[in-house]
């Protein structure tokens, strides 16, 4: 087999981040020079990420800042936490826009929504509530499938398959007025009809994850 001429792999590096707290370039230059004077060898050729979170002026001259740093033999690889107009400037200057790990995590999550189905779900039909709960006012027939990233509530009889927490949410639950399911699953843990019958004596049911295994309890209906 031929070895591929390139490979794409993920790696993480520790980079120094330079926080710019003033729009006054001369002031920045002065302070930078005094810092560099302390340990010149350390900074020469060092890759830097410039944090611009304090700069809210959209007319800020990023190119001038870049020239300033380059003239001190610093290498800017990218900027972070910049306002949109500065990010645009950075793109034209060929700088990367880097999101710090923390920032990426705090990305606004899509709001959780609820999908409401007001009819019977028939054999062969499949309903998926992405990013939220699924509420069915009606019956889910044998051979039908209801799937949700969140919880599933069925105000009727569940005879088909129900899969809650489809993208891994272990707190999802499955609630049905009458539980006669072929299969129930929460975050990948599943039960077949026999398991449900073995664990339940009542018609209604709330199924949830208790640790790594499913449990069922009846509803006080």
């Amino acid at each position: 087999m031929q070895t591929p001429s390139l490979e794409l792999k993920g790696s993480s590096f520790t980079l120094s981040v330079l926080h710019i707290n003033s729009i006054d370039l001369e002031k920045v230059a002065k302070e930078l020079d005094s810092k560099l004077a302390i340990a010149p060898q350390f900074f020469i050729g060092a890759p830097l990420v410039v944090n611009l979170s304090s700069i809210s002026d959209s007319s800020y001259n990023l190119a001038a800042l870049k020239d300033l740093l380059t003239s001190r033999q610093l290498v800017i690889v990218g900027i972070t936490a910049a306002i949109n107009t500065l990010s645009e400037q950075a793109k034209t200057l060929g700088l990367a826009i880097i999101k710090s790990g923390k920032q990426a995590q705090s990305q606004p999550q899509l709001p959780k929504t609820t999908k409401l189905v007001k009819q019977n779900v028939r054999s062969g039909q499949q309903i998926y509530a992405k990013n939220g709960d699924l509420v069915v006012i009606g019956t889910v027939g044998n051979g039908a499938e209801v799937i949700a990233d969140g919880s599933i509530h069925i105000y009727g009889t569940l005879r088909g398959k129900a899969m809650a927490g489809a993208s891994g949410d272990k707190h999802a639950v499955i609630i049905a007025k009458t539980m006669e399911a072929e299969l129930v699953s929460i975050a990948g843990q599943y039960w077949l009809t026999d398991n449900i019958q073995a664990n339940s004596t009542t018609k209604s049911g709330c199924i949830r994850l208790d640790g790594e295994s499913l449990t069922i309890e009846s509803l006080p209906l």
Binding site: Q119, N120, V121, R122, S123, G124, Q125, G138, T139, G141, N142, G143, A144, R159
Partner: protein, 269 residues
């Protein structure tokens, strides 16, 4: 307004064609101008049940392809002046049906007829989809056993998602349950699902329960729709169903086991 009624089931052998013939004849006997269309291209049976197999010259596919006009293909029933049959082709297959073609023929029929009964083939392929696509009313024929009920549930799902009314977000197709080959004695012994069981699973209004009857086979073999045999319980049950389809409210008959009389119990039947 013409009503297009599809008689469908998903599963085969449950009595779609028998029911189509009976309901169409029943509507016609009530004075409504009715045509019954056989969608089972390649396995045409309706003409046999209706007793007009020797009069088939042109068929549904010929009309779709423009090889014949509707009047040439329609067969007038000999017993009932308001009833017409549009037979299927025996030599083609279901792919001969196209949405445009079927739509055009049904539009033409709607000019003359009050009721168009579409006798659907079994399955969920082209033929069955074409039969149910244009429907206003669906009569879901079901036997009281689990596989038939499951398949009916599937067809109900199709009606809700694949019909013209569903695609165009119009008022949904009216669905009715017709329970056929019902045997009260076998329900009592637990061998068969009861009316209540099936109603609970399918959750659509019941339009009739047709008892298992010798009269059905006899009627099929002699080419007379069983509804014409008003002596038989199946014939009577179909008449009731037709009345309910037309909006009458009637109590269900033939759903409880007939109590054998004292003498019958001693001497057998």
């Amino acid at each position: 307004m013409t009503q297009i009624i599809v008689v469908t089931s998903g599963k085969g052998g449950v009595g779609k064609t028998t029911s189509s013939a009976a309901i169409a004849t029943g509507l016609a006997l009530k004075g409504h101008k009715t045509v019954v269309v056989d969608f089972d291209i390649g396995l045409r049976n309706l003409d046999l049940i209706m007793g007009c197999e020797r009069r088939v010259v042109y068929d549904f596919v010929n009309v779709i392809n423009g090889e014949a006009n509707l009047n040439q293909a329609l067969i007038k029933d000999k017993r009932c002046p308001n009833l017409f049959i549009l037979p299927a082709s025996q030599t083609r297959d279901k792919d001969a049906l196209t949405k445009e073609g079927v739509g055009r023929v049904l539009d033409d029929l709607a000019k003359d007829f009050e009721f168009i009964i579409c006798d659907s083939p079994a399955g969920i392929e082209t033929g069955a989809m074409m039969a149910l696509y244009f429907a206003d009313i669906a009569i879901v024929t079901t036997n009281p056993e689990v596989s038939s009920v499951r398949d009916s549930d599937r067809i109900l799902g199709m009606l809700q998602s694949k019909s013209k009314r569903a695609e165009e977000s119009l008022e949904p197709v009216k669905e009715f349950l017709l329970l056929t080959r019902y045997s009260p004695s076998r329900v009592t012994t637990g061998e068969m699902l009861s009316v209540e069981d099936v109603e609970e699973i399918l959750a659509i209004p019941l339009i009739g329960v047709i008892p298992e009857s010798q009269a059905v086979l006899k009627a099929s073999n002699s080419g007379v729709p069983v509804i014409m045999d008003q002596e038989s319980d199946a014939g009577k049950a179909y008449s009731d169903s037709v009345d309910r389809l037309l909006g009458e409210e009637l109590p269900l008959r033939f759903i409880t086991e007939e109590k054998k009389g004292f003498l019958k119990r001693i001497f057998g039947s």
